[in-house]
Subunit: 106 residues, 4 copies
């Protein structure tokens, strides 16, 4: 089921994009605009580097999840979503082909 | 099918982690070690900010895909993978619950 | 006179390094430790990129001043100061030589 | 004499801004344009974080010097220079006042 987490999160972000800024952290972020979202992307990337150098696995997961989340907010800000990233990774690594082969093996 | 792209990429990264550095960019990155991977995470985050401010959607997708890819290399470096991030996002946003509800509606 | 600004700031930082965290933002930053200082370095670098892309000169000056300030806090955290950076830039660009020549011209 | 290093570096950058890109790394950077300079600012900030967490003082100095250098290139790109940053730090920390007092003590 996990594979749908990103899709569900995209849907939540779609709703929060037009919600009142009082309703949630994410609605406030959309309302504050692009620069606020970008500052968070930069912050979370730095925190990922710090967590990795500290070698704390729980922190690494926490910070990379934060980073992915804020890049998904940025994607939605530009009317894009996680699907655009997955398609790009698929085409870059030939993952659709690999997937086809994986399915044929079953 | 797209939902499996991250899982397939995790498998490719698992193989490249132990491959000879001559074989691919990714094998070289693992071989160069943590700091090289972290530099790429920082670079791609900055390039995401630049692409977003330039307003070029193809570039935004390209840079965020690069950023996700390099965070996945970092996860694998620490014996983690995309599944750890999806579980974290699920628990943070109650996505398993939402998914359950979504499934029940069908 | 301006040329001494960095030296004076180094002295202020030296005092605040051992001051009570209640006394100032900078004393609090030293007390919070390395990771807090590094997060600020990352944040200010991102804000410099954003300000530059926005093309707002007052903002660019504000953010680069913030970035230099927080790198000076980081230097002091490691018992270094702005002098170490100026010496490095001097030796890298042959500035002591240039300075000598500039002085001889007078 | 060190206090003039930034001023001399500003002058070098002024010359390289209009020099042929073949002549030096810095002339090439100006010719490549704003985004190339910003990528370097982001890279050097990340490398500063990595060097600090590694606790290697020579590396910390090296990376912060790189970071200051590239922010000075960025300033010059926007027709600003290190003087604008020193004035900002002076006014923020009341350094001109402190300097006056320091001079009066002599």
């Amino acid at each position: 089921m996990k594979q749908n987490a990103l899709k569900l999160l995209d849907e939540i972000l779609e709703q929060r994009k037009t919600a009142s800024p009082d309703e949630s952290y994410t609605a406030k972020l959309f309302s504050d605009g692009q620069d606020s979202i970008l500052k968070k992307v930069g912050e979370e990337a730095t925190e990922t580097v710090i967590a990795s150098k500290s070698g704390d696995k729980a922190e690494i997961i926490h910070e990379i999840a934060d980073l992915w989340f804020h890049t998904m907010v940025l994607l939605k800000f530009h009317d894009l979503d996680s699907d655009d990233i997955l398609k790009e990774l698929e085409s870059r690594f030939g993952l659709s082909g690999l997937e086809e082969k994986a399915n044929r093996k079953k």
